[in-house]
C-alpha cells in the first residue's frame, strides 16, 4: 500500500472511526480505560491491521506472521478493537474488557488471538521486540517483521534507549518502531513534565532512521511503512515518529490529559460520539446500551457477607451506578 487508492483510504478511515467508536462503547461499559492514547493511535492501528501487517486471523499462529507489540499497553482498547474488526475474535468479546475472565486492562499474551505481548509496564516493549526480531533471524525467518508501538511519554524510560541501542547494534532492520507522539503523557504535556524532543535526533544518534509523519493521515502512514520496508536493507532500524493528537476526534479530549485515563459516563460517551461524528462527518450510533458499572469496593464485600445493609449483588453491580464507597472504579 505505497499509495492507497481512494477506496482503500476510505476503508482505513472507516476502520479508524470504528476503532474509536468501539473503544468509547466498551470503555464506558467497563468504567475504566484510556481514551486519549487509544484515539491517538487509531489510524496507526487501522493501517497496520488494514493492510500493512501480514497477519491473518485464520492463521493466527502462523510463525511467519508479522508481530505487533503494543509497548504502550494501556492503550489496549484500540488494539482490541482493531483485532476484533479484523476478525481475530467476535466484537462481542470487547464487552468483557476489565472484567474477571475478560480482556485485561492492559494486554495479556495469549489471552485472545492476536495479542502477542503481556504489557503495561512502560518501557518494556521495545526490548521484547528486539528479542522477537532476533528470533526471526535465528530461525531463518526473513519474512516476518515486528512492529512496536511506544508512547512519547514512554520515551522517558531508559529501557527504550537500551533497546534502541541494541536494535541498532544488531542491525535489526526487521524491527520497526512507531512512536505515538501525541505530546501528552498521563498528567500533562510531555514537553513540560519531561521533554523528549527532539525525538528524531535522539533516534538518529542511536543509529536509527527516523521518518516523521502525520499520524492521523492514513496516506502518510502507509507511505512511511512503505519507505520503512524500502530502507530496511540498510541495516538501520526504522522508527516512524507519528505526530498525533491525544484524544483525537473529540475536541474536549484533544491534548487534554484529563482524558488520558478516565472512563466517560454514559451521557459523556454519547456526547463524545456526537463529537466524533461531527469531526469525521458521520452519523453513527453505539451498538448497545451504555451503562457505567460501579465498584462497591471493600465495603460492599464485607457488608454483603455480614448481611448488613443493601448491597448490590456482583452481577447486578455492573449497572447500578456508584455506591457510596465506590470512588474506586473509573479513574487511574
Amino acid at each position: 500500500m505505497k499509495n492507497p487508492t481512494p477506496d482503500q483510504i476510505r476503508a482505513l478511515d472507516d476502520r479508524a472511526f470504528a476503532i474509536r467508536r468501539l473503544c468509547l462503547e466498551f470503555i464506558t461499559n467497563a468504567g475504566w480505560g484510556h481514551v486519549g492514547g487509544s484515539f491517538s493511535e487509531a489510524e496507526l492501528l487501522a493501517c497496520l491491521y488494514g493492510g500493512i501487517m501480514n497477519v491473518e486471523p485464520k492463521q493466527a499462529d502462523d510463525p511467519r506472521r508479522d508481530r505487533f507489540i503494543l509497548s504502550k499497553a494501556h492503550a489496549s482498547p484500540a488494539l482490541y478493537a482493531a483485532l476484533a474488526l479484523r476478525g481475530f475474535f467476535p466484537v462481542e468479546r470487547l464487552q468483557t474488557y476489565c472484567r474477571l475472565d475478560g480482556l485485561d486492562g492492559h494486554t495479556q499474551r495469549g489471552q485472545c488471538p492476536g495479542i502477542e505481548y503481556s504489557g503495561g509496564s512502560l518501557g518494556t516493549g521495545l526490548s521484547y521486540a528486539n528479542g522477537v526480531a532476533l528470533g526471526f533471524r535465528l530461525g531463518d525467518n526473513f519474512a516476518s517483521r515486528v512492529y512496536c508501538l511506544i508512547g512519547d511519554g514512554e520515551c522517558n524510560e531508559g529501557q527504550i534507549w537500551e533497546a534502541a541501542m541494541s536494535a541498532a547494534h544488531y542491525r535489526l532492520d526487521n524491527l520497526i518502531a512507531i512512536v505515538d507522539a501525541n505530546k501528552v503523557m498521563a498528567k500533562g504535556k510531555v514537553s513540560e513534565l519531561m521533554a523528549v524532543a527532539p525525538l528524531a535526533d535522539k533516534f538518529a544518534a542511536f543509529g536509527w532512521t527516523p521518518i516523521e509523519v502525520d499520524g492521523h493521515d492514513v496516506r502518510e502512514i502507509c507511505a512511511a511503512f512503505h519507505r520503512a520496508k524500502f530502507l530496511e536493507m540498510d541495516g538501520r532500524p526504522v522508527v516512524v515518529i507519528a505526530h498525533t493528537v491525544k484524544g483525537r476526534g473529540v475536541p474536549e479530549a484533544e491534548f487534554n490529559y484529563h482524558w488520558h485515563t478516565h472512563a466517560p459516563s454514559p451521557p459523556q460517551a454519547e456526547a463524545f460520539l456526537r463529537a466524533l461524528n461531527q469531526t469525521y462527518g458521520r452519523n453513527e450510533t453505539f451498538s448497545r446500551p451504555l451503562s457505567a458499572p460501579s465498584d462497591g469496593g471493600l465495603e460492599a464485600v464485607v457488608t454483603a457477607d455480614l448481611g448488613w445493609g443493601m448491597i448490590p449483588s456482583v452481577d447486578a453491580a455492573y449497572s447500578v451506578g456508584h455506591t457510596p464507597g465506590g470512588s474506586v472504579g473509573n479513574s487511574l
Binding site: A30, G102, S118, N156, M185, G296, S327, L332
Partner: protein, 343 residues
C-alpha cells in the same frame, strides 16, 4: 461491631498529609513519576510547587534523584505505583536508598490488588516480601486514614528509609481520633480465645468481618491489626499465639514472605503455633474491580471465617500438633501458566 467506611480514600489522606507535613517541614520534598493525580501528590504540587519535582516516566531516575536530594539533607517522598517502586526501581531503592540508609520515604500506591482493572502488569502482590528483604527499610501497610496520617508524621520524625503502602480504597475507620502509629506496634482490635485473625492494611476489615461471622456461630476470634510489617510486633504475636494457639493471617499480597511469612517467622522462632496464611497464591491478580477480585480470590469475611473454623476444629480435635492432613490453600492456578512453547 459495624464499621464506618471513610468516604475519603487512603490516597487522598496521603496527599493531604503531605501538604500538612510540607507546611511543618521546609526540607520535605515530593517527587513524582507522572502519576500525581493518581497518587494524589498533586495536592502537594499545588500547594508547594517549588518543592515538587516531576521526574517523568522514569522510575529508576526518580529514586536516584530522591537519594541525591536526601544526601543534601532533604527528606524526600518519591512516589509511584507499588509495582514500580518494588519491581522497576528495586535496584535503585536498594543501592541508593536502603544501603546508604538515606532519609527517603517511599509511598507505593496501587499496592497489591488495588491496581484493579490495570491487571497483572500493575498489581503488585510482592512488594511487602521484596521490601522486607531489603536492609534498613521499614515496611508499613496502614489500615485506616487516621493511621496513615499518624504514620506519615512518625516517619517524618524518624530518619531512614521507609516503604509504605497507599491505595485508592475507602478504608473502614478502625481507630478513633488521636490514634498514634508506632513502628513495630500492632493493635488488638478485638479480644478472642479460640483463634486470632491477623490483618494488615485495609484487609484488617475483612478480619473484623470474619470475627463477627465466627462470633455468630460461637467461635471467639481475636482480631489484630499489624500496620508495621518490619519491624513487627513480636510481643503481640507471642501473646496471641499463647492465648489462642492458632492464627490466620490475611493480606493483600501473595502468601510468600509477606504478612503471613513475617508472622510465621516470628511464631516459629518464639512460640510455634499454627499459622494459616490467606492471600494470593502462586499467581497474578487479574484485571477486575476490587469487589470482584476480593470475591474471586476468596479474600472475604466468609472465606476467612471458613479457614478459621477449619483451624479451630483441627485444634479442638487435638490434631493440630501432629496432623499431616493439609488445610486447603487458596492457590489459584494462572490461566497463562500452561501456555505452550509455540512461537
Amino acid at each position: 461491631m459495624k464499621l464506618t467506611y471513610s468516604k475519603k480514600p487512603l490516597r487522598e489522606v496521603f496527599g493531604e498529609t503531605l501538604v500538612e507535613l510540607g507546611g511543618l517541614h521546609s526540607r520535605l520534598l515530593v517527587l513524582d513519576a507522572d502519576l500525581n493525580t493518581s497518587s494524589r501528590t498533586i495536592l502537594f504540587k499545588e500547594r508547594f510547587p517549588d518543592r515538587f519535582i516531576q521526574c517523568g516516566i522514569a522510575e529508576a531516575n526518580l529514586f536516584g534523584i530522591a537519594a541525591g536530594l536526601a544526601a543534601q539533607g532533604y527528606v524526600t517522598f518519591p512516589s509511584t505505583f507499588a509495582a514500580f517502586a518494588a519491581r522497576k526501581a528495586l535496584d535503585q531503592v536498594y543501592v541508593n536508598i536502603a544501603y546508604p540508609c538515606l532519609d527517603v520515604k517511599i509511598a507505593g500506591s496501587y499496592c497489591g490488588m488495588t491496581a484493579t482493572e490495570c491487571g497483572p502488569s500493575h498489581n503488585c502482590a510482592e512488594d511487602l516480601a521484596v521490601m522486607r528483604a531489603l536492609p534498613h527499610v521499614k515496611v508499613l501497610d496502614p489500615g485506616d486514614n487516621r493511621e496513615l496520617r499518624s504514620m506519615m508524621h512518625v516517619m517524618m520524625a524518624t530518619p531512614g528509609p521507609v516503604y509504605f503502602r497507599v491505595s485508592k480504597v475507602n478504608a473502614p475507620e478502625l481507630f478513633p481520633d488521636g490514634h498514634e502509629f508506632a513502628f513495630g506496634r500492632g493493635h488488638l482490635l478485638r479480644q478472642g480465645r479460640d483463634i486470632a485473625l491477623i490483618g494488615t492494611g485495609f484487609m484488617t476489615a475483612v478480619a473484623l468481618g470474619a470475627a463477627e461471622l465466627l462470633d455468630r456461630e460461637g467461635i471467639s476470634a481475636a482480631v489484630a491489626h499489624m500496620p508495621s510489617l518490619k519491624p513487627i510486633d513480636e510481643d503481640l504475636l507471642g501473646r496471641l499465639a499463647r492465648d489462642t494457639g492458632a492464627l490466620v493471617t490475611i493480606e493483600n499480597h501473595r502468601i510468600y514472605g509477606g504478612l503471613g511469612g513475617a508472622v510465621a517467622e516470628v511464631t516459629a522462632r518464639e512460640y510455634p503455633v499454627h499459622v494459616d496464611a490467606m492471600g494470593l497464591g502462586d499467581t497474578v491478580f487479574e484485571a477486575a474491580p476490587l469487589q470482584d477480585l476480593l470475591r474471586h480470590y476468596q479474600l472475604t469475611p466468609r472465606a476467612l471465617a471458613a479457614r478459621a473454623r477449619a483451624l479451630v476444629e483441627r485444634k479442638r480435635k487435638g490434631v493440630a500438633a501432629g496432623s499431616r492432613r493439609r488445610v486447603a490453600r487458596t492457590v489459584i492456578t494462572a490461566t497463562t501458566a500452561a501456555l505452550p512453547r509455540t512461537p
